[in-house]
Point group: C3
């Protein structure tokens, strides 16, 4: 996916000499983790409106298949269309290795990347897994609270190790 | 489970307009995560006494099947009865999306909810999974340290999306 | 593994009366989580050089099979030899229950232990799992940034509950 390259966090950019990002404050870390804990509860509860409200009005999501949703109307329509897929399963999104980087010169804008594992639990309690994903978000602060302005979801695929 | 409704965190309450909870400080976030890291090591080590010591004396656990254990004696007896189940497997509890809310007017009491995934690794290294759960805890501070006063475990089940 | 006993964190040491470790500051918690988010991105990207650079020059890894790698040259050679194993899969390391303990009298040295779950996603998106592991690290601060000085990886095995 070409668009991934330009948008992914500088910290995880391949090539050149990627460097350990500066650590963020504990308060910011807790705030971002709380934001995602809340946002993922909304999507896992199939609370489409509540989930959409965690995005800016011009929020954008690029799905792993390259499909792009722009703005709340498109987002809501896309989520409604996907609902039948979750009729008989409980979906849970698990995050790992959240990496937060305030934008230089604009500390109210955060680049955040994380691993995502999605479990599907059926009525009998059997758990299956979607492929793993890596996600790059841009969060912004509006009226004191965080919102997602953009999300780029990439399915994890095998890499060719450097020679 | 009827009791779940009344006890679950306000932040995840369905109906009305649930709102993003205020973020907690980084120090409190780290303290709660450290508490669970410790508590889960005790249960995963089958250290029944050590695990029970992370609860208040009147601590209560409501299991996903509705069974309620009240006080340390009941808790210890229940855990001892469950031990044979873990004879040949290594159990690990994984948490996700921990959401912490200090009680209004009583900052020493915390409502905490989190996702829980339980892995079972057998002697050959094969991993299987229990159904996913969502847990609502009430933590209190006693003599400077956190303890669990109540725990409500709910198995994740499919939800009916809003119409 | 005999060496595990001597090296594991005091907080998780069996026997005696293990106690809840003192919570660390939110800032330190965020810094350690950021370090691992970065380090695991390097290993999961098969960026061998970048991964090795997250260790001290005399860094040491003791693998679950008891094999010990000491110093960067051994580490790089070992990782290169393991690369063919990841030719057609995307590997992701997930951490749980990170427990951080600054060394008494030497706050720049941290004992960190955590659960580790490794997912392998193949080209079709099918996810399989390695056995679960528990890891004990020693991190040190060099020139303002954290590095891993030692890592002890233990495969989770069933425990015998106390009588």
């Amino acid at each position: 996916m070409e668009q991934a390259v330009g948008r992914q966090s500088t910290a995880v950019a391949a090539g050149g000499a990627p460097a350990l990002p500066a650590p963020v404050s504990g308060d910011l870390y807790a705030e971002v983790m709380t934001f995602y804990a809340w946002q993922m509860r909304r999507v896992d509860a199939l609370d489409i409106e509540g989930f959409a409200d965690t995005f800016t009005d011009d929020g954008e999501v690029v799905h792993a298949d390259g499909h792009r949703q722009h703005g709340k109307a498109e987002m809501l329509a896309g989520m409604r269309a996907a609902l039948p897929r979750y009729r008989d399963i409980a979906v849970r999104h698990w995050f790992g290795h959240v990496l937060i980087e305030p934008c230089e010169g604009d500390p109210g804008t955060l680049r955040v990347s994380y691993y995502s594992l999605v479990t599907l639990t059926d009525r009998e309690g059997k758990v299956t897994f979607q492929p793993t994903f890596t996600v790059d978000d841009v969060l912004v602060r509006r009226g004191g609270r965080l919102l997602t302005r953009s999300r780029l979801i990439r399915r994890d695929t095998p890499v060719e190790p450097a020679a």
